[in-house]
């Protein structure tokens, strides 16, 4: 059993009671809600005539169903409109703050809570959404819950949970140029498998992690769930504190020192005991792309696709299924596979630094003919900041569409979707069959820079070659 880790400390601090079934009743410090998983929970609450216990610890936004082209109300899709108006009604009735469209702070739930400073170290965070693990980047213990549990948190501000084991994922070294935190996490999931983390919380640590910015850390924790871990976290450090300082909902100047002391005391102790430790070397990780139908089916850009017979028996069946679905050939390369749609956005990679990385590749180039490429900022704030820097112009100039914030083509709950057997290069987090709205549509997951590179060439491309090209031409210019 683990001891002394941040997970253990935060768990202890939030323990309310031991429940008869053996699980723990855990206090939830921050409850995030959105339009998809909350309506049934509110209905169940009302059925039992329970009030919302802590409306101040509950924050709402709308993200999954919002269109990214025309956000005028009522929405064209009556079902989407009904979902948003239900959320609006529920929030109003129960005194919950809703960050609605046009408020300046609307966006994907896992993008807005950090940027508002709502997510802080040492908190417990729950949301009816599996990518709640994102908030662990701050040293919070954050997990996705189902609708019945959303009801429980609304009613009691607590949850019944079993304690997780803790696995430390220690990453030495440093990422090479053209390799991003998305590649790192895709690599970890590839190695440990999509079930590897079941029953665990993942603590990401080591020199490579310490060097990452908060936004890069969020990308890592966001996908902990794709590796099967209910939550992932990173111990808070100077990078965390600097990010939080001055944010709207972060502790004020007067209480900052007190907050800092409390946060620092929660960091995993040097003599922590983990249930398991796994090590990686960041400098050995290549740009990574998924080729199959689970996020664990990833390979390095220069590798060839696995031969099913050479895989572990447990992996073989899903690999064969993936080949049937994706129409790719075992043994061939992933580089050069043509793409139809390129999507930059989502709670994994829809933040400002993601758009920077993609814009750097798009700058001065043109989207390949026949490719539909679009950029969806993760929030209104990301959109605003990007526009102030002129990133929208860079993208538009290169032939990308610049959209309004939302979940967009990460999943098929809004008008953005694949059609037929289209194949997408996507900066999101899931490549499940049918995930992007067409039951035969195909998804290749990769970093935002790699998506931009694919958009430019019309095929899966090693972004490092474009970076090199750029360097050579600036060299040439200098020498001329």
């Amino acid at each position: 059993m683990s001891s002394g880790t941040l997970f253990d400390k935060v768990w202890e601090l939030h323990k309310v009671a031991k429940l008869p079934g053996g699980s723990t009743q855990l206090f939830v410090g921050l409850h995030l809600i959105h339009e998809v998983t909350s309506p049934q929970a509110f209905a169940a609450l009302e059925e039992k005539s329970f009030p919302v216990r802590c409306p101040d610890q509950t924050i709402a936004t709308v993200d999954h169903i919002v269109p990214t082209t025309n956000q005028e109300r009522p929405f064209e899709d009556p079902l989407a409109e009904e979902m948003l108006s239900t959320l609006e009604r529920n929030c109003k009735k129960h005194g919950i703050k809703l960050h609605g469209i046009g408020s300046g702070s609307q966006g994907i739930v896992h993008v807005i809570a950090p940027e508002l400073g709502l997510t802080q170290p040492g908190m417990t965070v729950a949301c009816g959404d599996s990518h709640t693990s994102t908030h662990g980047a701050f040293g919070a213990i954050a997990f996705g819950i189902g609708t019945s549990q959303v009801r429980d948190v609304l009613a009691s501000q607590t949850l019944a949970m079993n304690k997780l084991k803790v696995r430390q994922i220690w990453i030495d070294g440093e990422l090479n140029e053209g390799v991003y935190s998305k590649d790192l996490i895709l690599h970890v999931i590839r190695e440990l498998g999509v079930k590897g983390g079941v029953g665990y919380a993942y603590e990401f640590a080591g020199p490579a992690i310490e060097k990452l910015s908060m936004e890069e850390r969020m990308t890592i924790c966001n996908m902990a769930i794709e590796g099967g871990a209910r939550c992932g976290y990173i111990n808070p450090d100077q990078t965390t504190f600097e990010y939080l300082k001055g944010k709207a909902k972060a502790p004020s100047e007067e209480s900052w020192q007190q907050a800092l002391n409390w946060w620092k005391g929660l960091v995993s102790s040097p003599d922590s005991i983990f249930d398991d430790v796994v090590k990686f070397d960041a400098s050995k990780i290549p740009p990574t792309v998924t080729w199959g139908i689970t996020p664990g089916q990833g390979i390095g850009i220069n590798e060839s696709l696995p031969i099913p017979e050479s895989l572990e028996p447990s992996e073989r069946q899903i690999a064969e299924e993936a080949y049937r679905y994706m129409g790719l050939k075992p043994g061939s390369g992933i580089e050069g596979v043509s793409v139809d749609v390129c999507f930059i956005g989502s709670c994994t990679n829809g933040r400002l630094s993601d758009l920077h990385a993609a814009a750097k590749i798009a700058q001065g180039r043109k989207v390949a003919q026949g490719v539909k490429a679009f950029v969806v900022p993760g929030s209104e704030q990301v959109a605003r900041e990007a526009e102030q820097e002129g990133l929208d112009k860079v993208f538009r100039g290169a032939g990308f569409e610049w959209r309004e914030p939302g979940c967009s083509m990460c999943l098929a709950m809004n008008p953005d979707r694949l059609e037929g057997r289209q194949i997408s290069a996507s900066s999101s987090n899931r490549n499940f069959k049918g995930r992007q709205g067409s039951s035969s549509g195909r998804t290749l997951l990769m970093s935002p820079a790699m998506v931009a590179a694919a958009a430019i060439t019309g095929q899966v491309t090693d972004v490092r070659s474009l970076i090199k090209q750029e360097k050579e031409s600036t060299e040439k210019l200098k020498n001329e």
Binding site: S23, Q57, G228
Partner: protein
């Protein structure tokens, strides 16, 4: 959908009797159980008929959920990591509304397991070999009646008995009826207040005195 008014779990659950569906494949994610387009709803009512919609269309009538002999099934038998992916409770809701009252598999994704528990649907596990045996037996004896006993953790057919596993806490909650957790959680109101008071961030790290006016 088999039953026009499905049998939703209620109170203490001791046994589930019925026929079973064998659904083969590892890593069947919740996007497959209920595709995202069906999440556009403010209640769960319509989900039963939409379960596995894409997979069923692809198999054109040959999907286990479409086979005639399976239409009254209440026990689902699956392989490894069933229910991975999105946390949507719509997935077990869709299964339950179709008529499923229990799932047996090699392993389950955690959130899915918890969501099932919250609805009163037990998820039992057993080894790969045993699952293979159970699936074969269902597939070759269409319509055989099975009895799933929660207390003994057994699945019985006329010919065989399989020993199953389940988390003891989950079992206790199901057999005592405490799986419907809300009342239980609310009843610890004083302890909830006490914990909230001790957490400095709840009050923006203000001084200790003002923490007393919490909640």
């Amino acid at each position: 959908m088999n039953n026009p008014i499905p049998n939703f779990p209620k109170g203490a659950i001791s046994e589930i009797i019925g026929t079973a569906i064998s659904l083969r494949g590892n890593d069947i994610d919740t996007d497959r159980i209920i595709p995202a387009r069906f999440l556009k709803c403010v209640n769960f009512d319509a989900l039963g008929s939409q379960v596995f919609d894409d997979d069923r269309k692809e198999l054109n009538g040959l999907h286990p959920f479409d086979l005639k002999e399976n239409q009254n099934a209440s026990i689902l038998v699956v392989n490894g990591n069933f229910g991975c992916g999105s946390s949507r409770e719509h997935a077990p809701q869709a299964l339950m509304r179709w008529g499923i009252n229990a799932v047996i598999g090699q392993s389950f994704a955690e959130i899915f397991f918890g969501n099932c528990l919250a609805l009163g649907i037990p998820c039992f596990t057993t080894s790969k070999q045993e699952i293979e045996e159970i699936q074969k037996s269902i597939e070759s004896n269409t319509g055989i009646e099975l009895l799933l006993n929660l207390k003994n953790q057994t699945l019985k057919s006329k010919k065989s008995t399989w020993q199953l596993e389940i988390d003891p806490g989950a079992k206790q909650m199901l057999t005592s009826g405490q799986w419907d957790a809300t009342n239980q959680l609310i009843s610890n109101s004083n302890s909830i207040d006490q914990i909230a008071k001790k957490l400095p961030y709840i009050n923006g790290f203000k001084s200790k005195d003002s923490l007393n006016d919490l909640t």
